[in-house]
Structures are given as structure tokens and as C-alpha cells.
């Protein structure tokens, strides 16, 4: 079988949220550029927002919030470990992006005066803008891709980035229906492959019962790592409060403004703020450990009209099969609280902070390689952050093309990758990919799920090393199974990164996301830094520190501790577990 060769100026990998935006913006900046959007599924319905989204979680709208206020809130929510310049670049681009999406046909909720109907869900400021008709988001993006004349491919699975002398040269991919191997030479590449959503195994045991779209197996984390890019905050896991078994969002952001809230088994509030953070998850965990669980989403006290509105939003957007799940269990929001639980772990900067390191122009540490969306390390960036960083990445990638020619192709690198990718198809017999994936992800749960224990993570590394040698035995019976086999490679890389990054940061931080039993204290003297990870010249996975740039938005002492005071005091609730004393004092700014 021949290798199918492509040559473009800008290659965008991933056609979900950030990717289409990056492709459109690169093309708008220079319509003469050849821009290729490489998608593993089909851009019409792919990625985290395949079925749309019910709102913006981080809208910064004049009159409701300022960029400075938002940067302050995210700095605090992420326990001080942020490059404020990157969060500020998002914040300053936020309102322009909302207006552009509005012009493109996205419908946002407005109040009776015509102003955007912003709600408060975060601990400090107001940033939530509902989109009750947000189910058309992908159609809106698709129209823009057509208008900008972006070339789009479907069903091509990117496997590795090509580099020459440390600079980006393109990428390799294969067709998950025909197994044809593709090489794409490009002057610049934008990586938009989403979260590592298939890392931990859901409690259901079902491989595809994940919170994130399971197509997002951590492909980009692995590809960026092997290309030599720096990754950051991998130890700051994504762990979410979800509907038990269904594993989708309970959507406190949607229900909160209507009067819904997270409650314990007695139906009482135990956290002041439902905004997802490690500190919030810590309180959730404490409530379960303290015998006051399960934890529920409580709506049964609301009026019929309110509940109908909530149902309409939740059962038509983002994860519309929620309604079907609830009716199967006999759960009616009017009569019963919705049982929730703590999810398995994942990597996702859209919700927490783990990602490929980028600067405020979406540039990674590899020249010519850019990243945006859930896999790019801009903490708590969510969907709107994916759009803003998609725009920045597309523009940066277009600018890079103006100054660079194609890097020469390393033929040896290309051939080695072709051999690696096609090997599972050629093998006579071997291990079934779904079994290797199941075992790997079960080990992730056994050894990495917080609270993190040093000895367990060390054993985890031994197991992941053993599974690495098993990868040479994977057998794929058809091109589809080859896709699953290559995804197991991605997942294994992410598991090793998660273990090594967690072992490196010898302190506790971000509530449950990085609660280390052997190092229960937060240690600002040594660890108020970014913990980075990359592949060194010898091919080893190495960790190192990167200093936090001086803050551009200063914080007061009282603000700094805000996210440590999420638990409702005992006088207001019938009981209360103590906050983690070790992590409770405010940190000192860098």
C-alpha cells in the first residue's frame, strides 16, 4: 500500500471546537494559504460539542465582568499556578469572540432589555451566559469552514507529528476505514485534539462511558510529547462531579441560576459554589468519606415551570440522552434528586489545567507547533477559551508560514512511523486492543485515582511499563480496530505522564486533583511553580520546574484564600467535615 502524500501551509489536527476556528482564522488572515483540517471523525458532529453546548461558562462581558477580575478568579481557582498572560489573552479576546459567534448565528440568552443574560456560578464573579438553543454550534462552525474554503478530511487518525531539527515538519495519519497511510507536510501545525478523556476507567466498567467524547483519547498529549514539546500541570487531573453511571454533567451551571444545587444525602447544601474546581471536588470527596453521601443534584424543590425549562435545556443540548437515562431509572427531577458521583481521572485544561504548554499566542515550545482547546494549558478555558485560542493559534500559524518554508522531510522518521502504525494489522495473532485498553485503564484507576499514594503510583509505573511492551503484540483485525489499537498507545503515554507528573510534585495542591497522602501539606516555598514534563534527547520522560511569571494582575491576601472557603460552615449545615487543614492557608504570590 502506498503512502498518500499531502503538502499544505497550515495543518490543523482536530475538527471539534478550537480546530475549525483555527482553520477559519488562518484562512482569513491569508486566503492564499493552503489550510487542511484533519479530522478523526466528521467535522459535522465531532469533538466535545458534537451535540452543541448549553452555555458559555466563562463569558467576560463588559458591565458584568472585566478581564482583570476574571484573571484574578482563575488564578485563585487554580491555586496560583497560572501564566496570567495566557489567561489574560483569553479574557481580552472573550467578548470579541462572543460578538463574532453572535454574528455567525449562535443564539445567546438575552434579558428584557436586550443585554446578554449573564449569571453567577463562580465563587466570585459572573461569567455564565446560557445558550438554550446551543445545539446548532457545529452547524454554525461548518458554515464558516465552507465559506472560508478550508479543505477538510474525515476519518483520518493522526498518529505522530513530524519534526526536523526540532522544528515542525508535518504529521502522519491513517484512514480508519481503509488503513491507508498518509503523510502531511506543513509549514505550521495547530494541535486541537481535545482532552485525554479515556484515561481512567468509568466506575461502570464501560470503556466508552466517559465524560469526554471518547474519541478524544489523549492523542494530542501523546503526539506533542513525542515531538519534544513541553507539557504542564499534568498532575492537576480532571475529576468531575457527574451523574452516576451516565457519567455526563449534572449541569449545576445550568440549574444553579434556576435554584438547583449540589446536596448531600439529607438534601442539604455543603458547598457554597458549584463551579468545578479541585477544592470543590475535595469537599465532594469529604462528604462521601464522612458518610453523608451519596451526593445529589437537587431540583425537586423547584416549581413545575422551572423544572420544565431545565429539562428542555438539559435534554436537547450537550448530552441530550440524559433524559432517556433518567426515565430508564425512574428519576423525575420533580420527585427525586439525581444521584451523582466522582468521575474517573482525565487530562483536560478546558476544565482543570493539564495540557501542552502554550504562550499567549498559542505557540508551544516546538517552533511551528501551536495548540488550542482542551489540550492546551490555559487553565479552566472551557469552550469559549477553545474558540479564542483557536483564533490565536490560527493567526499565529498563518504568521509562521509568512516567515518559514516547509521543513525538509525526515524520510527515516516517516518510514519508521508507517511501520509502527501498520504493524497491528500485519501481525498474524496478538492481543485484542479492547482488552489491553481495559486493563490499562483499570490500572490507572487502581494506582492514580486521588488521593494519590507514592508507592501505588510507583507500582503503576511498573504496570504501565509492562503494558508498553505488550503494545508490540497488539493485533488489529480491521482498520477500525487499528484506530483503537493506536489509541491504546496514546492512553498509555498519558497514563505514564500522569504518574510521573504526580510523583514529581511532592506536595498537595488543587484540592482533590493533586491530594498526595504522603505530602499532605501545600508547600509554596518549593512548589509555587509550574511542573513541566517533556521527552529529553535520550528519549526519557523528564520533569522539571518552570518559574511562574510575575503576576500582571495582583491579588490581595483575602482573595487568595477564597476557593479554600467553599464548605458551608457547620452552623448553617447540619454537619460539616473539616477542610483540609494542610491546604487551607493562602499562598504568597510569585
Amino acid at each position: 500500500m502506498n503512502t498518500i502524500e499531502h503538502e499544505v501551509d497550515v495543518l490543523v489536527i482536530g475538527g471539534g471546537t478550537a480546530g475549525p476556528m483555527a482553520a477559519v482564522k488562518a484562512k482569513q488572515q491569508n486566503p492564499a494559504l493552503r489550510v487542511l483540517l484533519l479530522e478523526k471523525a466528521n467535522v459535522k458532529r465531532s469533538g466535545a460539542i458534537a451535540m452543541g453546548m448549553d452555555g458559555l461558562n466563562n463569558a467576560i462581558i463588559p458591565g458584568h465582568a472585566t478581564p482583570e477580575q476574571y484573571v484574578r478568579e482563575i488564578t485563585i481557582a487554580n491555586d496560583g499556578i497560572v501564566n496570567q498572560k495566557t489567561v489574560m489573552a483569553y479574557a481580552q479576546g472573550s467578548f470579541d469572540m462572543i460578538q463574532e459567534l453572535d454574528r455567525w448565528g449562535v443564539k445567546f440568552e438575552r434579558d428584557e432589555t436586550g443585554d446578554y443574560a449573564v449569571r453567577k456560578v463562580h465563587h466570585m464573579g459572573s461569567y455564565v451566559l446560557p445558550m438554550p438553543e446551543g445545539h446548532d454550534m457545529k452547524k454554525v462552525l461548518y458554515r464558516q469552514l465552507k465559506r472560508a474554503r478550508v479543505e477538510v478530511t474525515s476519518r483520518l487518525v493522526a498518529t505522530r507529528l513530524l519534526t526536523t531539527d526540532g522544528r515542525i515538519a508535518g504529521a502522519t495519519a491513517f484512514d480508519c476505514r481503509t488503513a491507508e497511510f498518509h503523510s502531511v507536510r506543513a509549514k505550521s501545525v495547530v494541535l486541537c485534539t481535545g482532552a485525554a478523556g479515556r484515561l481512567g476507567l468509568p466506575a461502570s466498567g464501560y470503556l466508552f462511558g466517559t465524560y469526554e467524547n471518547p474519541t478524544n483519547a489523549g492523542d494530542g498529549y501523546s503526539m506533542a510529547y513525542h515531538a519534544g514539546a513541553e507539557l504542564s500541570g499534568i498532575e492537576c487531573f480532571q475529576i468531575n462531579p457527574l451523574i452516576k453511571d451516565y457519567n455526563g454533567p449534572a449541569c449545576a451551571y445550568v440549574t444553579g441560576p434556576f435554584g438547583g444545587y449540589t446536596a448531600n444525602a439529607d438534601g442539604q447544601r455543603f458547598i457554597e459554589c458549584d463551579y468545578w474546581s479541585g477544592q470543590m471536588m475535595w469537599e465532594f470527596y469529604q462528604e462521601l468519606q464522612g458518610g453523608h453521601g451519596p451526593v445529589f443534584l437537587k431540583l425537586d424543590h423547584l416549581a413545575e415551570e422551572t423544572i420544565s425549562t431545565i429539562e428542555t435545556i438539559l435534554h436537547t443540548n450537550e448530552r441530550p440522552s440524559r433524559g432517556r437515562f433518567h426515565s430508564g431509572r425512574g428519576t423525575d427531577y420533580r420527585e427525586r434528586m439525581v444521584e451523582m458521583h466522582i468521575s474517573e481521572i482525565g487530562l483536560c485544561s478546558g476544565h482543570s489545567a493539564s495540557g501542552v504548554w502554550v504562550d499567549e499566542h498559542a505557540r508551544t515550545t516546538v517552533p511551528g507547533l501551536h495548540a488550542a482547546g482542551d489540550l492546551a494549558c490555559v487553565p479552566h478555558n472551557y469552550m469559549l477559551g477553545a474558540f479564542v485560542y483557536g483564533k490565536l493559534a490560527g493567526q499565529s500559524a498563518a504568521s509562521f508560514c509568512a516567515e518559514h518554508e516547509l521543513a525538509p522531510l525526515d524520510v527515516g522518521q516517516l518510514e519508521a512511523e508507517r511501520t509502527r502504525v501498520l504493524a497491528p494489522l500485519l501481525r498474524e495473532r496478538g492481543l485484542p486492543p479492547n482488552q489491553v485498553e481495559y486493563k490499562l485503564r483499570r490500572m490507572v484507576n487502581d494506582y492514580l485515582q486521588p488521593p494519590k499514594v507514592t508507592r501505588k503510583m510507583e507500582i503503576g509505573l511498573e504496570r504501565f511499563a509492562a503494558i508498553e511492551s505488550d503494545l508490540d503484540q497488539l493485533k488489529a483485525r480491521d482498520p477500525h480496530e487499528l484506530m483503537r489499537a493506536m489509541e491504546v498507545h496514546f492512553i498509555r503515554d498519558c497514563a505514564e505522564m500522569a504518574a510521573r507528573a504526580s510523583l514529581y510534585r511532592s506536595e498537595s495542591r488543587w484540592g482533590l486533583y493533586h491530594a498526595r497522602v504522603d505530602y499532605p501539606e501545600r508547600n509554596d516555598a518549593e512548589w509555587l511553580v509550574h511542573a513541566q514534563l517533556r521527552k529529553d534527547a535520550q528519549g526519557r520522560m523528564v520533569s522539571f520546574k518552570r518559574a511562574i511569571e510575575p503576576y500582571i494582575v495582583p491579588l490581595s491576601d483575602s482573595e487568595r484564600a477564597a476557593y479554600r472557603r467553599l464548605r458551608i460552615p457547620a452552623a448553617q449545615a447540619s454537619h460539616a467535615a473539616p477542610s483540609p487543614p494542610s491546604q487551607s492557608s493562602p499562598w504568597s504570590p510569585p
Binding site: 471523525a41 466528521n42 459535522k44 458532529r45 465531532s46 469533538g47 458534537a50 451535540m51 474525515s154 476519518r155 480508519c176 476505514r177 461502570s204 466498567g205 464501560y206 470503556l207 466508552f208 462511558g209 466517559t210 467524547n213 471518547p214 474519541t215 453511571d245 451516565y246 457519567n247 448530552r319 441530550p320 440522552s321 432517556r324 437515562f325 430508564g328 431509572r329 477500525h480 484506530m483 483503537r484
Partner: protein, 81 residues
């Protein structure tokens, strides 16, 4: 051995079902196959109908929502129900 492979490839029930009376794959329609993020649907060429080929459903529902004739139905996978 061949029996076991056959069963693992085609379980007795899958989350995505297709009403063959409504399915118009024989007229060239491939919408449900195209929109699936996990690429688990396919057209049975001999019968001209869509079916779930791989039991790897995220119960996300584009196949059901986008089907022009309402032939596709998504059930929550049994393990989660």
C-alpha cells in the same frame, strides 16, 4: 472458535437500532454513518440498511437526530442503564 468470534462481533443487542422499514440507505443515504464520532455504524451493502457494526457507543445521538427518516434509535448502553 469461529462461533465465538461471530458472537463477539455481533452481540444479541446493541445500543443503536435501525428501523429497516424507514432506513433509506438503499437510496444512498449515509447520514448516520457519517456523523458518528466513534465510527461504529456501517451500511450492510447486501441489504441496503444501516446497522451498528461496533459496540462502542457514547450515546451522544447525532445518528438519531440527523437521520432524515427517523429510522435510528439510541438506547443507553445496558452497562449504564
Amino acid at each position: 472458535m469461529s462461533q465465538r468470534i461471530a458472537i463477539s462481533l455481533s452481540p444479541s443487542s446493541v445500543p443503536v437500532t435501525v428501523d429497516e422499514d424507514k432506513c433509506i440507505a438503499d437510496k444512498g443515504c449515509t447520514v448516520c454513518v457519517d456523523v458518528c464520532p466513534l465510527d461504529v455504524l456501517a451500511i450492510d451493502v447486501s441489504r441496503g440498511k444501516a446497522y451498528m457494526k461496533f459496540d462502542e457507543c457514547w450515546y451522544c445521538m447525532p445518528c438519531e437526530k440527523d437521520c432524515p427518516t427517523g429510522a435510528v434509535h439510541v438506547d443507553i448502553p445496558y452497562l449504564l442503564r
